[in-house]
Chain length 410, copies 2
């Protein structure tokens, strides 16, 4: 008699983005003819780079010929792709072994699966607010008690508040924690951790044999050369940190799907000598996954080629101009904004002390703009909304113009 | 202080195929100049169908244009692909809702992840021999005790022997089991379950509220129209069975990556009303996965189009001709073979009572042919090897000729 995973019953609500889509759809159906401007989900809108399109097409052609057809590749990704990723880190003076790099179908999969190589009783610490995948997958794996609807927190998870008082980067945890999820540039706040801030966490993790899961999916949006793009730019991070990255936003692969994780061989946990966590992740991936799509891996390598980098940078700059338009537009209304200078997200404080979903509804109904309520990312997100710079320019401009014209304050 | 998932320490050996690759590589390095013939891993060798190549290229071109670019798709797959999959089932008079079909990056991922929606204390039953992913992922999830090196079994898993006495299809379990993994056409034995055989398991599962996880990844290789291609051809299977399928072998997508699962809304478990298991799988996928690659989904739909089906059938027929060559060749040496008529695998009994790895080594060393030792699929696989029909024709012929010429029988 099969029984279902009862940990799923603890989940507080549906995954955030389907819920936003549901509300937006319901509103649109009630108001036929209106045009919704979507600044909610971080979904890319600009086309793939020409060199990426060509790489996909060439790879398809090769798979169509007997002489050049290939089947299964390496579970951890094709060598040419891992070499390209290694070279990307070298630009930041980070040297990685090719067997420390694992290509995957995306950072979401890796963020969602990485917990599986750790024991069930590890205590998880997350930034609050945070990308919901970190929390939800640990709830589903049974690392928490139920959801407390009053606090908006799961019992058993250590929430590290990120707010205007600490510059949206957390203090070190005061209680015992084992796995620490950090994301920089941060989703949702758009704030980037400094070397100094990361250094404190690396020192903490090395001292306590905690492991940092560092999500760098937005690192390509960092303009400021003094900010770290990888946690491995911090001394000793290879002894305590796993890094996850993505082609989704840097090369428009949200639908194409490609990402990678770095699990250094020097990484140690309390019961794992150097090399073991790397071996466990290889075992997990080789058992539950058959590698990222080969055509997509060629496309990823093209995106990391010199020509591909230049082409992708044009699109990154385009999105960052959107970010400026959003930030300046909201600021002109007196709305306090964070992020948006080295990240494609703007973290806007709701006016008049509105709750996140209240301001979400107000923006939807008065300006027909879809945003993401900050409270969906955790209790410290309450009173904020996230706006995404990944739209078309004209839609972004219209959205901001609509907010300026139609939003009724207080 | 992070600790690692100690369940991984229970795993008996490395995942089977890396171990085979390691032995083959070591042999080749010791004997420079030899040519290895690979009849081991089920890796496709024939090119993608022309309509599939075109679909990949057209999809890439569309993603290269602002007007036709798309980002995130539905977590469960694009509608056009799910419609094409639904139509495939309709040919067998099976009617599925589009929200019962979940596209993924492959049957391996789904086979490896599906257990997650069930509670940790479910008892797993597997065919013995079986595709290692079913067992290994449940070991990693903590549903077993350690590996018993004498029996070759994990304590806590119910092994259902498949042997020449029961026609390689198991008896009903006599002990309590909750999740039953069945694979037909079977990997590794190449034997296909009949309606009558599946009916017995469906009746058992409905009676005990057990859930069958039915792996139909090789269903496209069934020639005999009276054999079921889907478990849903059996009455009431939608109340007790999840079905997993793949484009890997039917359309050569081993490297391209695409598969699907069906989780019927009428499926029930002991603590789950109809609809809940479907909702749990949606929750799992939408939280840990961002959909299969969009370019690949277009390719999959092309493979299921009338033209694509005809083109793919040519390749399927090609592999099945290989299967005949292997089977007839081995039979001419007096080796007893099963499978290979409605499946791309031949399950050959080792001569002279050799153990699987012994015969593997003999074939490697005497005939330079790489096979898969049956014992790698479970203890009842001992005394067998699996041969794959997925090679090039000339390589397959050379391998069989080499075996005929060079194999020294006891």
């Amino acid at each position: 008699m099969a029984t279902t995973n009862h940990n799923y019953d603890k989940l507080g609500a549906g995954y955030l983005f389907p819920e936003i889509a549901r509300r937006a759809k319901a509103y649109a159906e009630k108001h036929p003819g209106i045009v919704l401007h979507r600044l909610g989900i971080g979904d890319t809108t600009q086309p793939l780079a020409p060199s990426v399109v060509k790489a996909l097409q060439d790879a398809a052609a090769r798979l169509g010929k007997t002489e050049t057809y290939t089947g299964y590749g390496d579970y951890e990704g094709e060598l040419f792709l891992r070499e390209a990723i290694r070279d990307l880190y070298r630009e930041r003076n980070v040297e990685l072994g090719l067997d420390e790099i694992f290509a995957s179908d995306g950072a979401k999969s890796d963020s969602g699966n990485i917990h599986a190589i750790f024991d069930a009783d590890n205590v998880i610490a997350v930034q609050d607010p945070a990308y919901p995948v970190y929390v939800d997958t640990n709830v589903m794996a049974g690392r928490t008690e139920s959801y407390n609807t009053v606090t908006g927190q799961y019992v058993g998870i250590v929430y590290m508040p990120c707010n205007e008082y600490n510059g949206f980067f957390p203090e070190l945890p005061t209680e015992k924690v084992d796995l620490i999820y950090l994301c920089s540039p941060n989703n949702p706040t758009g704030v980037v951790a400094t070397h100094e801030q990361l250094k404190r966490f690396v020192e903490y993790a090395c001292r306590h044999k905690a492991v940092i899961i560092y999500d760098a999916a937005y690192s390509a949006f960092i303009n400021n050369p003094s900010l770290p793009r990888s946690i491995y730019e911090v001394p000793n991070a290879k002894e305590c940190a796993i890094e996850i990255n993505s082609f989704s936003k840097s090369a428009g692969f949200t639908g194409v799907r490609l990402g990678w994780s770095v699990v250094p061989k020097s990484l140690v946990a309390v019961d794992a000598p150097a090399g073991k966590l790397n071996a466990l992740w290889y075992r997990r991936q080789s058992t539950c996954f058959n590698g990222a799509s080969n055509v997509v891996q060629y496309a990823g390598a093209a995106a990391l080629s010199p020509v591909g980098r230049r082409e992708c940078q044009i699109t990154i700059d385009y999105y960052m101009q959107n970010a400026r338009i959003i930030r300046e537009g909201l600021k002109s209304l007196g709305i306090v904004c964070h992020g948006g200078d080295n990240a494609p997200y703007i973290w806007a404080k709701t006016p008049n002390g509105l709750r996140s979903w209240e301001f979400f509804d107000q923006l939807l109904e008065q300006a027909n703009v879809v945003t993401t309520p900050g409270s969906g990312f955790g209790p410290s997100g309450e009173g904020y909304i996230r706006l995404s710079a990944f739209g078309h320019r004209d839609a972004t401009q219209q959205a901001i113009a609509g907010i300026k014209s139609n939003l009724k304050f207080g």
